[in-house]
């Protein structure tokens, strides 16, 4: 099975390998980091995954990543204003981290040090031969932030992690450690201008009893390819809510890998995918319930217009000892054009016998009775449809326990509709 026939490399594969050959040595890292980078580059050298690799079945990366932006930095990238008022902004601009923070309970360091001294080497280990997003990031990661939230600290204002580019290649990593009982809201912004290849990996440790709301807002330009990973470990009595809003990029893959390691831990994933034009956007989740009495919910809502394609793969694995697991997953899509498509693949792998696990997926059009009700009040058909489509997504946004985030995200939603609907 593993014997590879030599096939001609794609332009993207060539460019990635050439970039590694030319610049790999200059990237920060001690010998252990360099060894990890080399292993990652070797995985890339074996070829980007095609639809024959199960986890990439609906996102044929070899075909979709047809080209790769040059290994340079575009000029003129600048940090963005924070999404939420009063946020502590930690920007990676054009691949470089330079911000610092002076907030009680927060310790911030740029990642370049941790790479240089090898402390982060362990984290560059790949999850498997299909961990292509991890491989591209591990091979090239240049900077980012390591953020420690002290035990017991309740961080009053959100922390915004920005990854902003002006084209070229950007490979960034954020490592966040939330101490026992800590509370914080973290916003991850992925944005920029121009043709780019962005890889970004976020890692989060949620300490016992800690509560984290993490909001990913991806609105890359249509010329950008965006490969991202969110990895979290949730310990006992801790709660993580992850909200993902995808509204940009030519190709976007957001992987979510969460391990619920502690009893009574909670994980809630909410996703809103806004797909237009020729975009291909993929959210792939692997969630492990590893301890008893763990509770998770996943709700993904998608709007597809134009010729866009969307993907949601949701795998929930329940370990044998994770009795009393309660997991509910739903993926609902509104297809607004005949040319668009959405593929959903829910998977449950359950080894415990006393669990409640469910999943549902729907692909629908607008509910006729709702449309009639709105029109019967004088709202013309086009506006009525617009209201209902927005409502379909707003429902998920409004679940957030943060008034300002709801306002800001709904505003983004409105602007997306003005541009695309």
């Amino acid at each position: 099975m593993n014997i590879q026939t030599q096939i001609k490399r794609t332009a993207a594969e060539e460019l990635l390998l050439d970039a590694f050959a030319a610049h790999g040595e200059a990237l920060p890292g001690d010998s252990s980091v360099k060894a990890q980078r080399k292993a990652a580059a070797e995985l890339i050298g074996r070829g980007l995954p095609t639809r024959r690799v199960e986890s990439w079945h609906y996102t044929d990366l070899r075909r979709l990543l047809s080209n790769v932006a040059a290994f340079t930095q575009g000029q003129g990238a600048a940090a963005e204003a924070a999404l939420l008022d009063g946020s502590t902004v930690l920007s990676v601009v054009g691949g470089k981290a330079s911000a610092s923070a002076n907030v009680d309970g927060l310790t911030v360091a740029s990642l370049v040090n941790g790479l240089a001294d090898g402390k982060l080497a362990e984290r560059l280990t790949l999850a498997g031969t299909d961990d292509t997003v991890g491989a591209i990031n591990s091979a090239f990661v240049a900077d980012g932030y390591a953020v420690d939230i002290a035990a017991g600290a309740e961080i009053a204002h959100p922390v915004e992690l920005q990854n902003v580019h002006a084209g070229g290649q950007v490979h960034t990593r954020f490592v966040v450690n939330a101490g026992e009982g800590a509370k914080a809201v973290i916003v991850e912004r992925q944005t920029g201008t121009g043709s780019a290849l962005v890889s970004s990996v976020s890692e989060l440790d949620v300490g016992e009893g800690a509560e984290i709301l993490w909001i990913i807002v991806q609105d890359q330009p249509v010329e950008a390819d965006h490969l991202a990973q969110f990895k979290a470990r949730i310990t006992a009595n801790a709660k993580l809510t992850l909200f993902v809003m995808n509204s940009g990029a030519k190709l976007a893959r957001q992987e979510v890998r969460v391990r619920m390691e502690g009893e009574h831990s909670q994980f809630h994933l909410r996703g809103v995918n806004l797909l237009a034009g020729d975009a291909h956007s993929d959210i792939t989740m692997v969630l492990d319930h590893l301890a008893p009495d763990t509770y998770s919910t996943e709700t993904i809502r998608n709007i597809v217009t134009g010729r866009a394609d969307g993907v949601f793969q949701g795998m929930i694995r329940v370990a044998q000892k994770a009795q009393k697991t309660d997991a509910k997953m739903a993926c609902n899509t509104l297809l607004l054009t005949d040319e668009g498509s959405f593929s959903t693949k829910p998977e449950l792998e359950i080894f415990a016998d006393d669990v409640v696990c469910g999943h549902g997926a729907t692909v629908t059009e607008i509910e006729k009775a709702h449309l009639f009700y709105l029109m019967a009040r004088g709202i013309e058909e086009k506006s009525a449809r617009g209201l209902l489509v927005k409502a379909f997504l707003a429902e998920v946004i409004e679940e957030l326990e943060n008034e300002q985030a709801i306002e800001v995200l709904e505003d983004k939603l409105n602007r997306w509709f003005e541009a695309h609907a």
Binding site: K368, A369, H370, F372, Y373, L374, M375, A376, R377, G378, I379, E380, E381, S383, A384, L387, L388, K390, A391, F392, L393, A394, E395, E398
Partner: protein, 251 residues
């Protein structure tokens, strides 16, 4: 105001004929009750008036102020002054009630060539109307009808009716699911809307609502036709004798 002439309508999906030649004239200022047993076509009539496309008109016409509305979609009919208070108002998660009210009011104003309402004026109108119906403004912060009790939904329908100021109000079984206090409040709301240039059509199963909203005329619908018409005493008579006698006469 409203003239329904020999109206025949069927369910679009399976062709079942529901209305079989309804004739009805409603004058400005008139309050009309349409009564009839289950399955007589009362609700269908309300949907056909408001333009729901699950029904097809196969014969006849509906004239509003002398003009046919058959070619108009529901939004155009609403802007022309038709309002249907639903028997089962839709819960629409994600649509904020206030936003909905504002869009509805301004859409109609726009369609009639009037200026959009400014926000303070809009809020003032909603607040006044809500007070008159003993509705808590907090309720209107919720998504449209979501989590409303049956009575709250009906009250919300009347609130919309007050705000949209239609010239033809059609109330479909507005009394269903209401307790006596809610019924009184809703009826008072409707009575407050009685005016010489507005007609109100009350569709109901029971006499009860008509104790509070006293009609000028009563029509009995049976098997898709008006089989008997009379004054308000006809409703009282029906309450005593039931529909069987009248249906017998008609058959």
């Amino acid at each position: 105001m409203l003239e329904i002439k020999n109206l025949h309508a069927r369910i679009a999906e399976d062709g079942t004929e529901i209305l079989r030649g309804v004739n009805l004239t409603v004058k400005p200022g008139e309050v009309v009750a349409i009564m009839g047993p289950n399955g007589s076509g009362k609700s269908t009539l309300s949907y056909v008036l408001s333009g729901r496309d699950d029904y097809e008109v196969t014969e006849g016409d509906i004239l509003l102020n002398g003009e046919s509305i058959l070619e108009m979609d529901p939004a155009e009919r609403a802007s022309a002054g038709v309002f249907l208070a639903f028997q089962y108002p839709m819960e629409i998660p994600g649509v904020a009630t206030m936003e909905f009210l504002k869009v509805a009011m301004n859409s109609q104003r726009k369609a009639r060539g009037e200026e959009e309402l400014k926000v303070p004026e809009f809020i003032k109108r909603v607040r006044t109307a809500a007070e008159e119906l003993s509705m808590d403004m907090n309720m209107l912060k919720r998504p449209l009808n979501v989590g409303f009790s049956g009575g709250e939904k009906k009250r919300a329908e009347i609130l919309q009716m007050k705000l949209l100021e239609p010239n033809l109000c059609v109330l479909d079984e507005t009394d269903s699911g209401l307790d006596i206090d809610a019924l009184r409040i809703v009826a008072e709301g409707v009575n407050a809307l009685r005016s010489p240039d507005r007609a109100i059509v009350v569709i109901t199963h029971y006499q009860r609502l008509l104790d509070y909203i006293v009609p000028d005329t009563v029509h009995v619908l049976y098997k898709g036709r008006v089989v008997k018409s009379g004054g308000k005493e006809l409703a009282q008579e029906l309450e005593k004798t039931g529909y069987a006698e009248i249906i017998g006469e008609a058959a």
